[in-house]
Amino acid sequence: MRTRRAIAELLAPATLVVASAVVGATFARTTEIYFISALISVSIVVALYVFVGNSGVLSFGHISFFAVGAWAAGVLSVPEQEKPATMPYLFDFLGSTTVGNVPSLVIAGSAGGVFALLVGLPLMRLSGLAAGIATFAVLGITNNVLRYYEKIGPGLNAFSSVPETTDLLQATVGALLVIVAAFAYQRSRFGRQLRATREDPAAARAVGVSIYRQRLGAFALSGFLAGFAGGLYIHFLPINVDAVYLDLTFITLAMLVIGGATSLWGAVVGALSVSALDAVLANAENGIEVLGRTIEVPAGTRIVVVSALMALVLILRPSGLTGGREVTFERLARRLRPAVQEAAK
């Protein structure tokens, strides 16, 4: 019974990710980028889920770990001879080091994880609104420093000449690794303890769970995963500092909430469904053909629709599309008889 549950819990999101990758591979190269971007979104949102979903504490700060990972991987993988042109003020050791694809991803994760750990050491003592605002403050500081401190990156400019190694395969493998990590964490005793503190802090404390330590561990792990996702992203798009601020924070939180913040399944479903909608709208902004007629929507419609959808989901279904539950074989079976269930209520 237990193993069956675990299998469904891991298999369902993994299957969904692989399925989207397979679908993506059958499309033309121009459409592929939407699938890569969606799969990287899965990595970010699952990273966010590891902390927010399991602890029930809101974090606005995860995009700063994502950004730090992206910066670390980006700065280190630009070829040495290209660095003086785009990033002339780099620290010497950053300017003279160049690493390959896989090491840069490991470094990205580690940078995000260490940063999250350092930030979490004081911040995880807070809860509620104070925690929300404090993580927001971390995001503000990170963005401000990355924007102006040119010894650690390109400052206001976009990255250039970062090897574009994140193709469909790397994005898929990356997303699967992040999902496995999130799964392993939530089945471990630490994950269970943290979820206990989410459901009832007083009771969890009474059985000897340290809220601070469990939150800190999850924060660091999810910072690592977010940094790793940042590494994947910088090898996909030459972003600048504006790409890793409020908009990305909003859209990733939206994905998590729309899918259902309290389950891994919800995180994956949210990331993929919002990405799909976003891709359709992005195409529509350039004109899309539906039933022989070209429909064109004005640029900027995407965010209008996504944010309206998010507000709508929150009002009508606050626990998200999946209800914040994992997939089980039993529930799948029961799904086939919804009328019976309604009557039982």
Partner: protein, 311 residues
């Protein structure tokens, strides 16, 4: 804590403590205080952090720009600004806040986050990223000499308006029955309802007053920053939200003081930091915010609560 803050301030400020910087900082603090009241009032009654408050101000600013584009008289522009902000506030209350009243604070916060982005992106679609200019009130930017310092008229207007608004609000809260209802609701919403306070009425009035304050802030901010873009007042709102939490969210006075403080401090630092450091001003401010939250998570100006709240 306050002494620590003051000493770190004098470190930063050094010789910048002249009257000019002081007056400007106080004026900025006054505007921030009004925004803090708008956010704090809604939080008090609904327990909802309104992240979309800045977008209300943005909407008001666009209304002003719209009027000044067409050379309408100043009075009409301000009336349009109030009408737009109030209509939007009431719509927000009815469509988003009211259905979410029973939800957790996190859900409500994310919902207002979504509303904020919705309004911002609508403004982007409508007015474009470069925005519009509101010029009808710029003459308030002219300086007048008071003693040895040159003070822009808007500075005086801002301080006086803030004082008047806060005074009126205190009267409303303490001398009218709807004020009594609102205070009761902010102490204990459930019990207040049992005693005959009408929930929808109270939350409607709170949102309405917050909207009026947003309109006032919109007028004063457009005088200082006439270029109205979709991200107008966004940075300010983030700072005020931080200030409100730093001051103490659960009561109106600490929240207002927190808002004033963060406006005042950012005015001082902005006036006193040399240019090569002033680009890191947000980092300094957010760093201070984190520091204060770690020492006083319930707020700088609130009485310390006893043990951990049980259930």
């Amino acid at each position: 804590m306050t002494s620590l803050l003051a000493s770190s301030l004098t470190d930063f400020v050094g010789d910048g403590l002249d009257l000019q910087v002081q007056v400007d900082a106080i004026a900025l603090g006054a505007i921030f205080a009004l925004m803090a009241v708008g956010i704090g009032l809604v939080f008090g009654v609904l327990r909802l952090v309104n992240f979309a408050y800045g977008q209300l101000i943005m909407a008001g600013a666009f209304a002003l720009a719209y009027a000044s584009d067409r050379d309408w008289p100043v009075g009409v522009g301000i009336a349009l600004c109030f009408a737009a902000v109030l209509a939007l506030s009431l719509a927000m209350e009815r469509i988003v806040f009211r259905p979410l009243r029973a939800q957790s604070a996190a859900v409500m916060l994310i919902a207002t986050f979504a509303v904020a982005f919705l309004l911002q992106s609508i403004a982007l679609l409508w007015f474009g990223p470069l925005g519009k200019t509101a010029t009808s009130l710029v003459e308030l930017n002219r300086p007048v000499s008071v003693g040895s310092v040159e003070i822009r008229k808007i500075t005086i207007v801002a301080i006086v308006t803030a004082a008047v608004c806060l005074g009126l609000l205190v009267l409303l809260l303490n001398r009218t029955s709807i004020g009594l209802h609102m205070r009761a609701a902010s102490m204990d919403f459930q019990t207040a309802r049992l005693l005959g306070v009408r929930a929808n009425m109270v939350s409607g009035v709170a949102v309405l007053i917050a909207g009026m304050l947003a309109a006032v802030v919109a007028v004063m901010l457009t005088v200082q920053f006439p270029t109205v873009t979709p991200t107008f007042a966004l940075q300010e709102t983030i700072l005020v939200l931080a200030g409100v939490v730093v001051g103490g969210m659960t009561r109106l006075l600490p929240a207002t003081l927190g808002g004033f403080l963060i406006g005042y401090v950012s005015g001082l630092l902005g006036g006193a930091l040399p240019t090569n450091q002033s680009q890191y001003l947000p980092s300094f401010l957010f760093g201070l915010v984190i520091l204060v939250l770690l020492v006083r998570p319930d707020g700088l100006f609130t009485r310390r609560r006893g043990l951990v709240e049980r259930v």
